[in-house]
């Protein structure tokens, strides 16, 4: 739920004290803004103070196609199509200029990133700016949207056929002989059994527990105050009218 609290697993950049200070700063920011739970594939609305915008405030709605980074540098990429033009905006999660983040539709997709929407028909990444937020019942698990996206013809921005993506349909695209051969060569089907590689690229569970134990009480407090505020907002005392 809070993937950005885990540090970069690369040992070249690890330092326990820096990670701790980073977490303190993240929690300090979280007391000012409610950052909702969201995943790749969720639809978000971000209100952002922008010095050059009319009214100094901008709002952007889009589907989260990627989440990057860890700690204070964690960011997410929103995609939408406005006036037949694909627009992607990268937001920093802890940017103090972000006024509000709303999760309009909370769901997951089959893949860890949805960059392939850039090479898909426009209707798969078009969302109206006045989308009504959908609420899940309390305690329900996050639904997985198993939609399969058909891709446009070549040329593509990336070689999607090599990435073992589950959410795409490649139809009516013919690859050259050379490309097929290279796909075969570059395939690494053994990597998912490489335990050492997985160990190196993730934070071990004991360390995760340590980190989450440290931040849990503060996060829990924030959650409770958030909920209280929400209830306050929903309950409006009926007023007497003459």
């Amino acid at each position: 739920m809070y993937p950005e609290f885990l540090p970069d697993p690369n040992p070249l950049y690890r330092n326990a004290l820096r990670e701790k200070l980073e977490r303190i700063d993240m929690l300090a920011r979280r007391t000012r803004i409610a950052i909702p739970e969201f995943y790749v594939g969720s639809i978000l609305a971000v209100t952002y103070s922008e010095p050059h915008a009319p009214g100094k405030v901008n709002k952007f709605v889009g589907i989260c196609i990627e989440r990057n980074g860890s700690g204070l540098r964690s960011s997410f990429l929103l995609r939408n199509i406005v006036d037949n033009q694909g627009i992607e905006v990268c937001y920093e999660l802890y940017d103090p200029a972000i006024q509000k983040i709303d999760c309009l539709r909370l769901e997951k997709r089959l893949d860890s990133h949805l960059r392939y929407l850039r090479d898909a028909p426009a209707k798969y990444s078009t969302f109206p700016f006045d989308l009504e937020p959908e609420f899940l019942p309390e305690g329900a698990s996050v639904p997985v949207n198993d939609i399969k996206v058909p891709l446009n013809g070549l040329p593509w921005l990336e070689k999607w056929e090599r990435q073992e993506l589950k959410g795409i349909i490649i139809k009516g695209v013919t690859f050259s002989k050379k490309r097929n051969a290279k796909t075969k060569i570059s395939a690494k089907p053994w990597e998912k059994y490489d335990l050492m590689k997985i160990y190196r690229e993730t934070i071990p569970e004991e360390e995760q527990n340590e980190i989450f134990n440290e931040v849990y009480t503060k996060l829990h407090e924030i959650e409770i105050t958030k909920r209280r505020l929400k209830h306050k907002r929903t309950f409006i005392r009926p007023q007497k009218t003459g």
């Binding site: 980073e22 540098r73 200029a97």
Partner: protein, 370 residues
């Protein structure tokens, strides 16, 4: 006779197998030139290297640890405890004026992360931790000769003194007698890193004075000296940023090579200073004119603007007041250092420069100009 010797040898071998010999390795004192270096297999548990075998029993070890505990009963807490000095203190109290040089600090680079300014701009900042910094020794100008040469010493008008600062406490058992001698007279715990800062004699400090991150103020400009990352022997493309040569169009075997390195004719030689492949990095470099954005007094951390401080993460660097003529101090800094005992008011935990946004502040909003 031979059989008897053999049996003895066999016994020794047997003994060797019985001992858990993996835990310590006695490194040789004189390894000749050309002797291959022992490389410990990665899959075996890590060894602790010792200079020579002390043959200490468990009781001996406990006794030594007790003595160490008695001598330095607890790590010196900043500002609270007076260091156990054996020499007379130096009276520092003179007011700051322009042209005085004060000491610097030894810091550990612990990482990089972004901070935001009040105008919404994102800047990356490097975190430097001040680890157990203490003054080890002061050399007055008469005794300090920075350059030793066979020529007669230069007649310098304004001679400066020198302050040796140490960082990161280590166990006194680890160090040699000669190294310990530096700390013995002053009663400072032995330090892993030592560094001398050239100072004016007015800024002299008593050995044992703790130096903390509040030595600087947020917003001040500093210079940082450190060793760059060691990149080993590198080609011309990485070392000097050459363009290399095309990947195709009939180019063979010369994709990352420098090309021509000089003219023929009369000169018939390579000019000195030609950019060529060679060892890259592991050099002392000074990064001048960096601004301090934020200071944490609890953990002794300094946030510095920019992500280009030389060196790897978890390596040491030296910070001192900048010598750039236009960016030097205009107002008085903490002179000779920040002494918590003199200023009664305790500092807040977090100090920020004026333009830095604090994470606990409300969201940045821009107002429309009417």
């Amino acid at each position: 006779m031979t059989s008897f010797l053999k049996t003895i040898n066999g016994l020794q071998l047997f003994n060797k197998f019985l001992k858990p010999s993996i835990s310590t390795i006695i490194s040789k004192r004189d390894g000749g030139v050309g002797t291959p270096k022992y490389r410990h297999p990665e899959w075996l548990p890590k060894v602790t290297h010792v200079k020579h075998d002390e043959h200490l029993t468990q009781d001996n070890k406990e006794f030594i640890e007790e003595i160490v505990q008695d001598n330095y009963d607890s790590p010196i807490e900043f500002g609270t405890q007076i260091s156990p000095l054996k020499i007379d203190p130096i009276e520092p109290i003179t007011k700051w004026r322009k042209g005085l040089r004060r000491t610097g600090l030894i810091a550990k680079k612990i990482g990089v992360y972004p901070l935001w300014l009040k105008d919404g701009k994102k800047v990356s900042s490097t975190l430097l931790q001040i680890v157990d910094n203490e003054v080890v020794k002061y050399m007055p100008p008469e005794k300090f000769h920075p350059v030793r040469s066979c020529k007669p010493p230069l007649q310098i008008k304004r001679r400066l003194g020198c302050l040796v600062v140490g960082a990161e406490n280590i166990d006194p058992q680890w160090v040699t007698k000669e190294y310990y001698g530096m700390f013995k007279d002053t009663g400072v715990i032995p330090k892993r890193v030592l560094r001398r800062f050239i100072i004016s004699p007015e800024a002299a400090l008593q050995p044992g004075t703790p130096l903390i991150a509040a030595h600087f103020k947020p917003g001040e400009i500093v210079d940082i000296r450190a060793k760059t990352i060691d990149r080993g022997f590198q080609g011309v493309m990485k070392r000097w940023g050459f363009k290399g040569m095309p990947a195709s169009h009939g180019v063979t075997k010369t994709h990352r090579r420098p090309g021509n390195i000089g003219s023929g004719g009369r000169k018939a030689r390579v000019m000195p200073g030609t950019k060529m492949p060679g060892h890259m990095g592991n050099k002392w470099r000074v990064h001048r004119g960096q601004q301090i954005l934020r200071i944490n007094t609890k953990y002794n951390i300094i946030w510095i603007k920019g992500q280009n401080i030389p060196g790897e993460i978890n390596s040491y660097c030296h910070i001192y007041d900048t010598i750039l003529p236009l960016r030097r101090h205009k107002t008085a800094p903490h002179f000779p250092t920040y002494l918590p005992s003199i200023t009664k008011e305790p500092l807040p935990e977090e100090l920020y420069a004026d333009e830095v946004h604090q994470f606990s502040d409300p969201t940045i909003e821009f107002k429309e100009e009417s």
